[in-house]
Structure formats: structure tokens, C-alpha cells
């Protein structure tokens, strides 16, 4: 594949690793989630424009809409956690522990 695709894929995997390996703040996971979404958007837009795949011209826009909803839900959950505990440290989320 081309160098540009490799570049964006590396940005995606960087964000993925950041999502799965964060230290203590839940906010960093949400930020990496946004990063993943951004890189996906750019990848999709480049691929579709360069291959003149007109039928799929809507896909990046729809992806953007859903990503915005998901970001809103994620922020709401973060706000709820922060309301209960005061901070958003992940070590607080151990209520399922038996």
C-alpha cells in the first residue's frame, strides 16, 4: 500500500494503543477514541477520493455524525463518574468486584 495509507494507519494504531494502555485518567481514553475516529475519517476520505468511489462519498460524513454522538455519551459517562468520585481515576471503577 502507499506511504500515505501507511502513515494514517500508523496514526490509527498509535491512538488504539493509547486507548488500551492509559495510566489513570479516563479522559485520556476518550481523547484517544477521538483520535481513532479522526484517523479513520481521513483514511476513508483519502481512499474514496483517490479511487473516485462516488457511491461511498457519504460514508465519512455519516461516520463523523456517529462519532460525535459517541463522544457525547462518553463525556456524559465521564461527568457521572466525576460527579460520584470527584476525579476520573479508573481505580474508582471497581464496583463490580466480588
Amino acid at each position: 500500500m502507499t506511504l500515505i495509507h501507511m502513515n494514517i494507519l500508523m496514526a490509527f494504531s498509535m491512538s488504539l494503543m493509547g486507548l488500551l494502555m492509559y495510566r489513570s485518567h479516563l479522559m485520556s481514553a476518550l481523547l484517544c477514541l477521538e483520535g481513532m475516529m479522526l484517523s479513520l475519517f481521513v483514511l476513508a476520505a483519502l481512499t474514496i477520493l483517490s479511487s473516485h468511489f462516488t457511491l461511498a462519498n457519504m460514508m465519512p460524513i455519516i461516520l463523523l455524525v456517529f462519532a460525535a454522538c459517541e463522544a457525547a455519551i462518553g463525556l456524559a459517562l465521564l461527568v457521572m463518574v466525576s460527579n460520584t468520585y470527584g476525579t476520573d481515576y479508573v481505580q474508582n471503577l471497581n464496583l463490580l468486584q466480588c
Partner: protein, 606 residues
């Protein structure tokens, strides 16, 4: 014969007149008491006519008035049976009630609700007569329950006193246990003989009659205070003295014995029931006579004496002598009512003092009451040719000369001598010696309302036995040959009792006893029967029913077995099998490593 049925019904109708006068306001003024007393006197005179006609012609009558209802094959009518028993009992009961009503005009003089008292007494009398003249078991049951309810209302007359309420409730409970027996018998008669009429029951004389007769014996034990169901009778002395005189000595407590006497054709062939009644009566008469020996309340002594005589009547029924038992009912009513009236006179004159340890020396102060008390006690013990002799002596003779249980006979004889003992005790403590009451009470027995009833009952106590025995038709062949020692048994036991009692009573003036002996404690505490049986069995019964009904049925079988067990299993399983620990970073890390490994493996398969 023309006036037989009409005078009988007229007697019953006359008695209901004061009750119906409640519509007017004549029941709130103070003429009501004399009115009720005169009504009872008129009813007594009216009832003498059918009684005399029966004695003349020996013809029984059955009045069947009004067909009430037919339930499939059971026909219920309003029917009155005028036979030997009801026709002889009615004049006796009315005479005694007339005397007691005149007495209670003196005794309850200061009671503000005296008119209501008279109405209750009259209602009791009406229901008792319904019981006595009933021809079918339904009407008898109406009278039975009626006397029970009036007994409750009259025992609890002074309802501000806790002991009176407890005693009234105790009477109701013990009578209820007896009612179970009566209802069981009624149900058996209904389902096996298809009737509640006495004629049909006696005609269809079926053979295995043990179950209904045991039910009737239980009913008699409940109503007539036999052993096991006896504690309500001494407790019923919480009521006023006229109530004790009418209900709990002459009239109501003999209803059980009367029931068994009514059913005597069924009992003459059943040896088991005769043995049961014999032994039950013997135990009752001895036990209550023992309890009467150390009581200190004069009314309780007379109450136990009543209970002992009821046991004697039960023994007579067990000897297959129902007519003797009935004669004893009639004669016992006279002197027992008089004993209660004398005790009422003593109590009122000593300013409501009922403890015999605080009485004494009334021999000179209350001469007429003293006379009546002594004659009553002598009649009770069976002094020859007073009233009690004509019924008690034939009973003892029949007992000693019949093929019967020797142990029951021995108990009855011991109880006869104990009768003399406690009678001596009453006479000694209340009448003889020096006064032990405070001297500031005014003792006056000169009221005609007090003297006349006691005078009438006194004449009855002396002569009624003679008159009744010579008027009634003979029902059994009397035993003509008897050894001398059997003939003199009753007299010998009584004399022995008198001598021993007088000696012991004289001893109490000299010796000082240190501690009560064990047998004295047994007697004073009524044989420990109320102590054991009033708390422990009800507590155990209620505990068992709570364990069975609530703990076993509701909580276990309905709740715990399926619903709660299912929930518990789910909870335990979920806690066992789930491994959520809340370690988010670990999960994300393992996810990352898995993804990386998958991508490597699927991209570089070689």
C-alpha cells in the same frame, strides 16, 4: 285433661310478660321488682295445675305447635314435652325462683340497676324452662345456650371487678367445651337417625350408640362441672348471692344432669357409658369434697358442696337410676338455695364479709338464719326424714346393693362422710364460738323480704322430700331385703364425718399449727388443677398452632421452598461464576496484546 296443655303454655307465656313490658317505661320504676316477683308466683301457681293432673292420671303430653322449617327431610317444630321430668321440675324451679327474687329485693336493694338484674333473672328462668320442656334437640340447644349466656351476664354483674370478668369468661369457656359434645351428638343424630326429635331417637334404638352418648356425657360434664371441667363453678361465686343461689346451685348446673336423665332410654343398655358416668361422678364428688374442706370463703364451700352433689347425681345415672337422680335434683334445689340465701344474709349483715375465719358467734345474733343454716346443712348430709334423706339415702342404698364398680362406691361413701365434715366446718366457724368480726356493724335480720323466702325454703327443706316421694309414681321396684349394715351405711358414714369434724374443729381452738401439711395445700389450691391447667395447655396449644400454621405452612411451604430458594441459588451461582474484578486497565491491555498477536499471526502465516 282439658286444661293440661293450655296451662302449661300459659305458664311459659306469663313469664315473658315482663320482658315485653320493656316497650313501656314500667321497667324503669321501682314497682318492677314486685311485679316480676308476683309474675313468677302466678306462673308457679299455674304450673302446679298440670303437675297435679299428671300425678293424678300419669298421662304424659306432647305439645307440637308450630312447624318452623323443613330442611330436606328434617322437620323442625316448636314442640314441648310434658312428661314426668319437666312437669315436676317446673313447679320446683318456679318456687325457688320466686323465693330468690323476693330475697334479691332485699339483697340488691341498693343497686342502681336492680330492674335490669330482675330482667336477667327472668330471662334465665325462661331459657331454663325452654331447656327443660324441649322435645327436640334444637329447642334444647336454644335453652342450653341461653342459660350459658345469662350465666355469663349474671356472673359478671359487677363488671368493674377484674375477678368477676375472668370468672364469667372462664364459665363461658368451660361450657363451650361441653357444647362441643352436644353439637357432636346432634350431628350424629341428624346424620344417622335423620331427626332431632326425642321420640324418634328413642324409637329407633340403634345399637352402637357410644359416640353420641359420649358427646352427651361431655356436654353434661361441661355444664354440670364434673371433674376436668369443674373450675368454673367455684369461680362463678364472683356473682351476687341470688345468682349463685339460682344458677349455680339449683337450676343451671343441673341442666347437664337433666340432659342425661332425658336420654335414659338410650343409656340403659349401654354398659360403657354407665361405667364412664359412674367413675366420672365418683371422682368429681370425692375431689370437690376434698377441695371444700379447707376453703375459707363461705360461698366457695357451698359451691364445692354443689359440685359434690352433682357428682353424686352423676353416680346415680351411672347406676341406671335416672328417676333417683331427678329426685335428688329436685330436693337438692331446696336446701342448696336456702344455704345460699342464709350465706347471703350473713354476708350482708357482716358488711360484706365472706371469710369464715372472720365470722363467729352468730348463733345469738342471727337466730333465724342460724336455724335455717343448721337445718340446711343437716338436710344436705342426709339427716333422716329431712328432705335430703328421701333422695340421698336411696341413692346410697342403690349403690351399695347393685352390681357395680367397688372403687366408685368407695369414693362415693368417703365423699358422703366428707359432706358431713365440711358442713360441720361451716356451722362451727360461722355460728359457734365468740365473734371474730368488728363489732361496729349493725346486725339486723328483721326484714320480711329476707325472712319470708328463707321461711318458705325452710318448710320446703323439711317437708318437700316427704311430699315428693309420696306423690310420684314408682318407677323401679324398691329393694325389699337388705342386710342391716348396708342399710345403715349412709347414716354411719355421715355420723362418722360429724364426730371427726367436730373433734378436729375443737382442736383448732387449742393447738397452733406450724406449717400447712402437703395434703392441706392440695386441698386449698383446689388440687393444683387450675394452677396447672389454666396456663400450660393453652400456652402449649397456641405455641404448637403458631409453629404449624405460620412457621411451617406460610413461611416454609409457601415462601421458602420455591421462590426464595430460586433467588438464593441464582445469587450464589452468579457470585461463584463471575470473575468481574473491575480491573479495566488489565482488560484493555490483554485486548491490545490479543489484537496484535492476531494481526501478526494472520499476516505472516509461515
Amino acid at each position: 285433661m282439658n286444661l293440661f296443655t293450655s296451662f302449661t303454655l300459659l305458664t311459659l307465656l306469663i313469664l315473658t310478660t315482663p320482658i315485653m313490658m320493656s316497650h313501656t317505661d314500667s321497667h324503669v320504676n321501682n314497682k318492677y321488682q314486685s311485679y316480676v316477683k308476683n309474675i313468677v308466683f302466678c306462673a308457679f301457681i299455674t304450673s302446679l295445675v298440670p303437675a297435679m293432673m299428671y300425678l293424678h292420671t300419669n298421662q304424659e303430653t306432647l305439645i307440637s305447635n308450630w312447624h318452623w322449617i323443613t330442611i330436606q327431610t328434617l322437620k323442625l317444630t316448636l314442640s314441648f314435652k310434658m312428661d314426668y321430668f319437666s312437669l315436676m321440675f317446673m313447679p320446683v324451679a318456679l318456687f325457688i325462683t320466686w323465693s330468690i327474687m323476693e330475697f334479691s329485693m332485699w339483697y340488691m336493694h341498693s343497686d342502681p340497676y336492680i330492674n335490669q338484674f330482675f330482667k336477667y333473672l327472668l330471662l334465665f328462668l325462661i331459657t331454663m324452662l325452654i331447656l327443660v320442656t324441649a322435645n327436640n334437640l334444637f329447642q334444647l340447644f336454644i335453652g342450653w345456650e341461653g342459660v350459658g349466656i345469662m350465666s355469663f351476664l349474671l356472673i359478671g354483674w359487677w363488671f368493674g371487678r377484674t375477678d368477676a370478668n375472668t370468672a364469667a369468661l372462664q364459665a363461658i369457656l368451660y361450657n363451650r367445651i361441653g357444647d362441643i359434645g352436644l353439637l357432636a351428638s346432634m350431628a350424629w343424630f341428624l346424620s344417622n337417625m335423620n331427626t332431632w326429635d326425642l321420640q324418634q331417637i328413642f324409637m329407633l334404638n340403634q345399637n352402637p350408640l357410644n359416640l353420641p352418648l359420649m358427646g352427651l356425657v361431655l356436654a353434661a360434664a361441661g355444664k354440670s362441672a364434673q371433674f376436668g371441667l369443674h373450675p368454673w363453678l367455684p369461680s362463678a361465686m364472683e356473682g351476687p348471692t341470688p345468682v349463685s343461689a339460682l344458677l349455680h346451685s339449683s337450676t343451671m348446673v343441673v341442666a347437664g344432669i337433666f340432659l342425661l336423665v332425658r336420654f335414659h332410654p338410650l343409656m340403659e343398655n349401654n354398659k360403657l357409658i354407665q361405667t364412664v358416668t359412674l367413675c366420672l361422678g365418683a371422682i368429681t364428688t370425692l375431689f370437690t369434697a376434698i377441695c371444700a374442706l379447707t376453703q375459707n370463703d363461705i360461698k366457695k364451700i357451698i359451691a364445692f358442696s354443689t359440685s359434690s352433689q352433682l357428682g353424686l347425681m352423676m353416680v346415680t345415672i351411672g347406676l341406671n337410676q335416672p328417676y333417683l337422680a331427678f329426685l335428688h335434683i329436685c330436693t337438692h334445689a331446696f336446701f342448696k338455695a336456702m344455704l345460699f340465701l342464709c350465706s347471703g344474709s350473713i354476708i350482708h349483715n357482716l358488711n360484706n364479709e365472706q371469710d369464715i375465719r372472720k365470722m363467729g358467734g352468730l348463733f345469738k345474733a342471727l337466730p333465724f338464719t342460724t336455724t335455717a343454716l343448721i337445718i340446711g346443712c343437716l338436710a344436705l348430709t342426709g339427716m333422716p326424714f329431712l328432705t335430703g334423706f328421701y333422695s340421698k339415702d336411696p341413692i346410697i342404698e342403690a349403690a351399695t346393693s347393685s352390681y357395680t364398680n367397688a372403687w366408685a362406691l368407695l369414693l362415693t361413701l368417703i365423699a358422703t362422710s366428707l359432706t358431713a365434715v365440711y358442713s360441720t366446718r361451716i356451722i362451727f366457724f360461722t355460728l359457734l364460738g365468740q365473734p371474730r368480726f368488728p363489732p361496729s356493724t349493725t346486725i339486723n335480720e328483721n326484714n320480711p323480704l329476707l325472712i319470708n323466702p328463707i321461711k318458705r325454703l325452710l318448710i320446703g327443706s323439711i317437708f318437700a322430700g316427704f311430699i315428693l316421694s309420696n306423690s310420684i309414681p314408682p318407677m323401679t321396684t324398691p329393694l325389699m331385703t337388705m342386710p342391716l349394715h348396708l342399710k345403715l351405711t349412709a347414716l354411719a358414714m355421715t355420723t362418722l364425718g360429724f364426730i371427726i369434724a367436730f373433734e378436729i374443729n375443737l382442736d383448732t381452738q387449742n393447738l397452733k399449727h406450724k406449717h400447712p401439711s402437703n395434703s392441706s395445700k392440695f386441698s386449698t389450691l383446689l388440687g393444683y388443677f387450675p394452677t396447672i391447667m389454666h396456663r400450660l395447655p393453652p400456652h402449649l396449644d397456641l405455641l404448637m398452632s403458631q409453629k404449624l400454621a405460620t412457621s411451617l405452612l406460610d413461611l416454609t411451604w409457601l415462601e421458602t421452598i420455591l421462590p426464595k430458594t430460586t433467588a438464593l441459588i441464582q445469587l450464589k451461582a452468579s457470585t461463584l461464576t463471575s470473575n468481574q474484578q473491575g480491573l479495566i486497565k488489565l482488560y484493555f491491555l490483554s485486548f491490545l496484546i490479543t489484537i496484535t498477536l492476531t494481526m501478526i499471526l494472520f499476516n505472516y502465516p509461515e
